[in-house]
């Protein structure tokens, strides 16, 4: 399986994702520079975290207009799996591949810490490595992760089972305390209609190595590889 990692000016989790994908796929991911409007066929497109264009104006806004995004949108529409993590999620909403928007954290502060997530559906390649209901410990690191969508969109997401992850406590229960950024419906990650695009704020690539404090994120990449390959 071959993955591509998209690098924007200001991306800074590109290497982290490259490492996780290299280990999971056994292949060197293709690193694609944002200015490239075409790149080789791949089985997975990953949009990493960071501060593309400094997150100036709005997180992800400028990267969403980059030449490479037109290509990514076209491939996503053809069914190629696209994974956006953190800034990648913000870019995917800004580009319209995913609905809603990621607003400033309710407490207005940047937050970097381990949180708990509940897997809401494993009916997508991205979460095949988990069982629905699994509770994961994975870090977040963002300033703008407060998921917002209008009521109709939220209903649609819920009805179509497109919420992939929700913030919970260690026991898998939702609560205001366990919602680190004020996201509506405690949403941490969502899927597009075709379930081939996933955006999530938490960073599975950061806890994919026991030495770094945990391996819950690793199962995501392993499951993805099994589902795609």
């Amino acid at each position: 399986m071959k993955a591509a990692v998209i690098v924007f000016p200001g991306s800074n989790c590109d290497r982290d994702l490259q490492v996780s994908l290299r280990i999971a796929t056994g292949n060197e991911p293709l690193m694609v520079w944002h200015g490239d409007s075409s790149f080789d066929d791949v089985d997975l497109i990953a949009v990493p975290g960071g501060f593309s264009y400094g997150d100036y104006l709005r997180a992800g806004a400028m990267a969403a207009k980059s030449p490479v995004m037109r290509e990514i949108i076209a491939r996503a529409n053809k069914g190629v799996p696209v994974l956006g993590i953190c800034n990648g999620f913000q870019i995917l909403t800004e580009s319209g591949l995913l609905p809603g928007a990621l607003m400033r954290n309710a407490a207005l502060k940047y937050i970097c810490k381990d949180i708990h997530l509940r897997v809401e559906t494993n009916d997508t390649a991205f979460t095949r490595g988990y069982a629905t209901g699994d509770v994961l410990r994975i870090p977040i690191a963002h300033h703008d992760g407060n998921y917002f969508a209008d009521p109709d969109t939220l209903d649609e997401l819920e009805q179509e089972n497109r919420v992939a992850f929700r913030y919970t406590n260690a026991q898998g229960e939702q609560s205001a305390d366990a919602n680190p950024n004020g996201s509506q419906h405690h949403i941490a990650g969502i899927l597009n209609k075709n379930r081939n695009v996933l955006g999530m704020m938490p960073h599975p690539e950061r806890l994919a190595d026991a030495a770094l404090g945990g391996e819950d994120g690793k199962r995501m990449f392993e499951g993805l590889v099994r589902a795609i390959a």
Binding site: P9, N12, C13, R15, G49, F51, Y110, I111, R206, A211
Partner: protein, 729 residues
């Protein structure tokens, strides 16, 4: 161009003697641009005129030192052809005036010092000191500084993995923001600042030059008074996004052989960078100021030379490589301009709009910068604390609870959770903030760097020599406690007005203490920074020589954290306890007094104890380890319990001191460890002449001390975790 009047000379900070020297060097009256250049080059900030004499006494050598002080950052050998490059720098004055941007640009500046040398920055640390918690400005300053450190570091994608945060009234009018960056380079790809080869092109890269922070360097060299807040100079605004691009572009160019010399534009911007490069390489420089990328219209030569706009670098390239270099900077969407060339004239000649606007001899100006032997008086040694004057507290456990929830000891999680401390994917789980030293793996290897920043200003104030030693020893100990070998330090000397003999005496004393400890511990100084004049209305800060330490562990898998990892392990105290309460946090917090002598550091014992502990960690005889510092034994033990989320049961040994002195005394050179085999550990300690005593076992959910009392760990956690969020709310 304005006239050089006595007022103009004074406002540029020259003494009569200094100005006479300017005239002598120039052989004529300087023009404004030239005067401005002299003034920043000879400012305290750039010339180190008050401190040079003493800095030279610091030990800077060891077989593993590749580059000591004098370059942008220090460099040490970390094996496998790799090097660690690091430095700490202050941004105190700007952060007081504009906390967010001041702190942010401080981080930006220290990052540039490190990647200028060819290293990829892999970790940031920040040592913060604020006024007392009830001072009306403190909250605002804390929130701005922390947001600024995070805002910059998070955006550039370098993890901020450690630091310090302390509150004390002596910083009410002068907060300290000391930022440290550690980078990793290949030893065959290290870059220095010397410019060589007449005719070679000088290239400007990065952001455009604006009128930012003109006189920043001179501002950092004068004392504050109440009206300096009104006279706020232009503050620089940081652009971390551009910095990130600059890091990538510079590191990409450094993979080629285009660069001869490279230097970031820090304090005194274009002036100091061009002078330093030329002076080190023994060449002359000609700059065409029309070629300097400018953000604003009608900038004068004076403004361009003194601007402190951020995110800029100066390079000397091999002739003919300009196009190749330019392509890289264009790819990263950064300005690139060939703005001059090296000459063999020994002069700096500036052209602007077709005219020569300055012509200065380089060496005389750079090398003849003033150096003072300022008068100093040694600080009188305080008498030892009379133990009879320290009554036992009524309730030891309540005292512990109060201390753990105090601003000094409360968790600083509120700070580090605003810092991305995991980006780059190498921060070890037990090496995240909250432990002794932060642990960051050297990417793609088994090795890890251990990093810490330390200083106990209340000790330095009471006895600068002892305090200087202690700061270095604590740094060494924090690295040792992870299993890593301490290798070298960077020092950030923050003091008051050096023109006062008592303050100069503090500086001299701290230098002496630092030197002694560095020598005894084989822990040389490879870089540093001095910030003087931290005074407001004649009131100086506590002497604060912040020590940034770096160590290495070959096999990161053998490193340990501070948290208890299992129940029913033996807890052993290593190092000698005498119950030293002088200058202790206990006295300050509980008895509301600060007298007595600080705990003496026995450097030979320090080394022996630390070497023993490290060897035991590497032999996997120890499952977690924490050095003892502020608050002493009981505080250290509680921190291990909190981090490990389990309790401890302590059986009091036979005590030759009052219980509270045993609990909270700050004797140096001590560690608490947990082990599965206490008899073996005690036997090895004894055979090596190291003090060690079994004090209890891990387990349960309380801190339980036989015959004294019990306190649930969760109760302590609440007090410990809640203080800072509640204070900042």
């Amino acid at each position: 161009m304005s006239e050089i009047t006595a007022d103009v000379i004074a406002s540029h900070g020259f003494t009569d003697a200094e100005y006479a020297k300017v005239l002598e060097i120039m052989g004529r009256e300087p023009n404004m641009t030239e005067l401005g250049i002299f003034s920043v080059m000879w400012s305290e900030h750039c010339s180190y005129k008050s401190s040079k004499k003493w800095l030279k006494t610091l030990p800077t050598e060891a077989p593993w030192v590749i580059c000591g002080p004098g370059e942008n950052a220090g460099i040490i050998d970390i094996g496998d052809g790799q090097a660690a490059v690091f430095k700490m720098e202050s941004h105190n004055h700007p952060s007081y005036i504009e906390p967010y941007q001041g702190a942010a640009t401080g981080v930006g500046g220290i990052l540039r010092d490190v990647f200028t040398m060819g290293a990829r920055p892999v970790a940031n640390l920040n040592a913060l000191r604020f006024g007392s918690t009830d001072h009306p400005k403190t909250r605002h300053l804390v929130s701005g500084v922390v947001a600024g450190v995070g805002g910059y570091g998070n955006c550039v994608g370098v993890p901020t993995v450690g630091g310090e945060c302390e509150f004390h009234a002596s910083y009410n009018g002068n907060i300290l923001v000391n930022a440290m960056t550690v980078g990793v380079a290949d030893q065959d790809k290290i870059f220095y600042s010397a410019a060589t080869g007449a005719g070679n092109p000088i290239v400007y890269v990065g952001s455009k030059t604006g009128r930012d922070g003109i006189h920043g360097a001179t501002m950092a060299s004068v004392e504050f008074s109440d009206d300096s807040e009104a006279k706020r100079p232009t503050v620089q605004v940081g652009d971390p996004f551009t910095e990130k691009l600059l890091i990538e572009a510079c590191l990409e160019l450094m993979q080629t052989d285009c660069i001869i010399g490279i230097q970031d534009m820090g304090a005194a911007g274009l002036t100091s960078s061009s002078f330093e490069m030329a002076s080190k390489g023994g060449v002359g420089v000609e700059l065409d100021l029309d070629k300097i990328p400018q953000r604003e219209a009608d900038m004068t030569a004076y403004e361009m030379m003194l601007s402190e706009s951020q995110e800029r670098m100066l390079m000397v390239l091999r002739p003919g490589t300009e196009a190749r270099a330019e392509a890289i900077f264009k790819k990263w969407e950064l300005d690139f301009s060939v703005c001059g060339e090296l000459t063999d004239s020994g002069h700096m000649v500036l052209r602007h709009k077709g005219e020569i606007v300055a012509d200065l001899p380089i060496d005389p100006l750079a090398l003849a910068s003033p150096e003072y032997d300022r008068p100093w008086v040694p600080t009188a040694k305080p008498p030892a604390l009379d133990m009879a004057s320290s009554p036992a507290p009524d309730d030891l456990m309540a005292t512990l609870l109060a201390m753990m929830g105090s601003p000094a000891l409360a968790s600083k999680r509120w700070i580090w959770e605003q810092y991305d401390h995991m980006v780059m994917g190498d921060t070890l789980g037990h090496g995240r903030p909250g432990g002794d030293a932060a642990l960051v793996r050297v990417h793609g290897s088994k090795k890890a760097l251990a990093m810490t920043s330390d200083c106990t200003p209340r000790y330095c104030y009471a006895d600068p020599v002892e305090g200087g030693r202690q700061a270095v020893a604590e740094s060494w100990r924090n690295i040792t406690a992870t299993g890593a070998t301490p290798l070298a330090i960077t020092d950030n000397m923050n003091f008051g007005n050096p023109e006062k003999p008592e303050i100069m005496g503090q500086f001299v004393g701290c230098c002496q203490g630092i030197s002694e400890a560095c020598i005894a511990l084989d822990y040389p100084v490879v870089s540093g920074n001095v910030s003087l004049y931290n005074e407001t209305n004649g009131q100086g800060i506590h002497p604060t020589p912040t020590i940034g330490g770096v160590g290495l562990i070959e096999d990161a898998a053998r490193s340990v954290g501070i948290g208890l990892t299992a129940d029913d392990q033996d807890i052993v105290l290593i190092g000698e306890s005498r119950g030293h309460l002088g200058c202790s946090l206990y006295l300050e917090l509980i008895e509301n007094r600060t007298d007595g002598a600080p705990p003496p550091v026995d450097l030979a014992a320090e080394r022996k104890t630390g070497d023993f502990v490290r060897a035991q960690i590497l032999a996997r005889e120890i499952s977690c380890c924490h050095d003892l510092s502020d608050g002493g034994l009981l505080v250290g033990l509680t921190e291990m319990a909190l981090a490990g989320q389990r309790g401890v049961r302590i059986a009091l040994p036979e005590l030759s001191m009052p219980l509270h002195a045993w609990a909270f005394g700050e004797d140096q050179g001590r560690y608490l460890v947990a082990t599965n085999d206490a008899p073996a550990l005690l036997a090895s300690a004894q055979s090596q002449g190291v003090d060690a005593v079994l004090i209890g076992k891990s387990g349960g959910s309380d801190i339980q001390i036989s015959g004294v009392g019990t306190l649930p760990v969760d109760t302590i956690r609440q007090a410990h975790e809640n203080w800072m969020p509640a204070y900042m709310a």
